[in-house]
Amino acid sequence: MEAFRPQVDFIARHRVAAVVVFLSLFPLLVPYQALAVNILIFGLYAMGFNILFGYTGMLSFGHAAFLGTGSYGAGIAIVHLGWPWYVAIATGVAAATAVGMVVGFLAIRARGIYFAMVTLALAQCVYYVFFQAETYTGGENGLRGVEVGVIDLFGWRLDFVDPTVKYYVVLAFVAFALWFVSRVLGSPFGAVIETVRENERRAQACGYDVARTKLVAFVISAALCGLAGTLRALHLSIVPIDSLHYLTSGLVVMMCLLGGMGTFFGPFVGAATLLLIEETFTNLTRHWQLITGVVFMACVLFFPRGIWGSILHWIRREGR
């Protein structure tokens, strides 16, 4: 391993570029593009969640609220208001950020399990608001007709129905998000949130405003999950009510743990692993959930750092 030290360091220094290069080639490894797009979107969702869970150390059980609000925000902008797709994306992200601010403001007062319960409860409130607003959201039936046929990019027309084009358009947004997250984590703020995770009292004693740090981390996390939601609405051309369901909140916790919490690329590994397992076994057996469960348990028992977290740990130890 020592021989590859410079290469490993090089990749670690250019982590955004490395991930983007990998993701550009990713569709070649996956059975079909719609799944690849799903992995991108859930990877982004998990990455947003990871800022709060992995880096700030706060376990939220209500992140579906932000994914769903992003989806519905973008969907309603396109279906009911007839706005162009890029405005719709901005609307979705703005809506998720706003909801994130409210939920965050109320939830950060609690800690640990209480924080998880408060976020879960507030997310359920969001669920029922969207469920009842049937005129705008379609209620149980979901919101249909989020069609983006052609993307006009300064005279360059892209056919968004084409699966390959769709993948790379979504990747462009994910690449931006990756750069943004890398920038945030590399900034002094990134160091502060990790301090809060490691020792909240000490961070306070050092003069940091812990409550505000937590709130900002919460809002950034919500905004990224909202972006994932808007992309999902465009990808599926519908917004299912399930996207606000608490199971969707649970899913992201699982993805994050499986990939490796508190690692830059881990959430994508987790999302890819979970969705690929599901994809592979769902066509073979009706009991695919059993296999997902076994893999998850094995990871918790033998790789508590998650898949990517364990790989990183191994590389670092070898390198020493």
Binding site: P31, Y32, Q33, A34, L35, N38, G139, E140, N141, G142, R144, G145, E147, G149, V161, P163, R232, L236, S237, I238, P240, I241, D242, S243, T282, N283, R286, W288, Q289
Partner: protein, 411 residues
């Protein structure tokens, strides 16, 4: 030492072979002969409706086998690609994208929930792929969701509730109470009953909403009992229905009130038991007992029994059979798998495959068909599958559907 040099002759042969192999002309002929006709079939194989979904799949396989045994279409065999949509609209959209983009299916048939079929329909219509839905929804007929590529083989709540309502109000009285699951299915059913009830001067005593997945109905039942309605209509589905029927029976509501439900499922009745369901009236698109009067039902039942060791098809199963068979027949009639021509053939189709005559209405491609009114029985049962009496059949008629104008269609 020129072992590795390719001789001119060999080179020429190789070139020729390469040219032949790469020629699109050859390739197409080879394809047309052997390419199967692929039908994507997303159904909820896991989740609360898995038993229904298995019935759908089994019956659909019979339609495929039948088509292939008859020689297929110009040597092309049909193939059913079954996918688990997990009763989740988002998963269904992904699965449908997979079927269209990766598996290159020619048609999509399937689904078993209003939300899922709308999501599948949304994906197929944007990609100009024919979708024949085999589960209930009113919304799919409406102009905002519908497209020329959308067909609806199943009943919809308006037809079902209308037929059941007309039977109930004629026979049991005009004072009605509803106990409704609070989601689209329940609301659409109540609307259907009330529309049908107008002609009878029906009075709604109460419309009590309960959350989806309620297990304890004891809070609602005394209120209903105090109202003493002629009819109690349970607008809920699956486990909710089984629980509410059982508890209503325990409360003794049956002594004053007739209990009814829009969709009386074969599987729900088997799960709930004969005593609890005794006398409950409800609608269905199909019941195997239809075979005593309808020859096509007998033929279908016999094929099913033969294929699955004497089992009888369920109501949703029959829809799977009908939905796949109409599409395959239309391919044969059209002489192509091209969507536009198959649509024309489907629109022209008059068929009787399992329950009597049917056809797709021109404006919204809703299958115009009969609705069976069933009554659950607890005595004189010949075997374990003999659970219902067919008390009435509402014959097919466009008058029982919402009008094209009402749905927002121009034509």
């Amino acid at each position: 030492m020129n072992n590795f040099r390719i001789s001119p002759d060999r080179r020429r042969v190789l070139l020729g072979a390469a040219a032949a192999a790469s020629s699109p002309f050859w390739f197409n002929i080879a394809r047309a002969q052997s390419d199967p006709i692929k039908i994507g079939f997303p159904v909820p194989l896991t989740g609360p409706f898995s038993a229904e979904a298995q019935g759908q799949e089994r019956a659909a396989q019979i339609a495929v086998r039948e088509f292939n045994d008859a020689g297929g279409f110009k040597g092309r065999m049909a193939e059913l690609l079954v996918r688990d949509d997990k009763l989740n609209a988002g998963e269904a959209a992904t699965r449908t994208l997979e079927l269209i983009e990766k598996d290159k299916v020619n048609f999509v048939v399937g689904s078993l929930s209003a939300a899922v079929q709308l999501s599948v329909n949304n994906v197929t219509k944007a990609r100009k792929v024919i979708f024949n839905s085999i589960s209930q929804s009113d919304t799919i007929n409406e102009a905002s969701d519908w497209s020329p590529y959308t067909f609806h083989e199943a009943l919809n709540p308006h037809m079902t509730a209308g037929a059941v309502g007309r039977y109930l109000f004629k026979n049991f009285g005009k004072r009605v109470a509803f106990l409704t699951a609070d989601y689209a299915y329940g609301h659409e059913m109540v609307r259907g009953f009330q529309t049908a009830g107008k002609a009878f001067g029906v009075e709604t005593l109460a419309d009590i909403r309960h959350p989806l997945g309620t297990s304890d109905f004891s809070a609602f039942l005394p209120r209903i009992q105090a109202l003493k309605p002629d009819i109690l209509i349970l607008c809920n589905f699956g486990r909710d229905l089984v629980n509410s029927v059982k508890q209503a029976a325990d409360f003794g509501i049956k002594s004053t009130t007739r209990i009814a439900t829009p969709v009386l499922l074969f599987t729900a009745r088997l799960a709930g038991g004969a005593d609890a369901f005794d006398g409950v009236v409800g609608g269905a698109s199909f019941y195997w007992g239809l075979e005593s009067s309808v020859p096509s039902a007998r033929a279908f039942n016999d094929k099913y029994r033969k294929a699955y060791g004497g089992e009888v098809p369920s109501d949703y199963g029959a829809l799977g059979y009908g939905g796949v068979r109409t599409v395959l027949t239309a391919v044969r009639n059209a002489g192509t798998t091209e969507a536009d021509k198959v649509i024309a053939a489907l629109r022209a189709l008059k068929y009787d495959y399992y329950k009597g005559p049917q056809y797709y209405r021109a404006c919204d491609h809703q299958s115009v068909q009969s609705v069976l009114i069933l009554r659950s029985k607890s005595k004189n049962m010949k075997d374990k599958n003999d659970v219902f009496d067919i008390v009435s059949i509402e014959q097919p008629g466009e008058g029982n559907l919402r009008s094209c104008a009402e749905l927002g269609h121009k034509a």
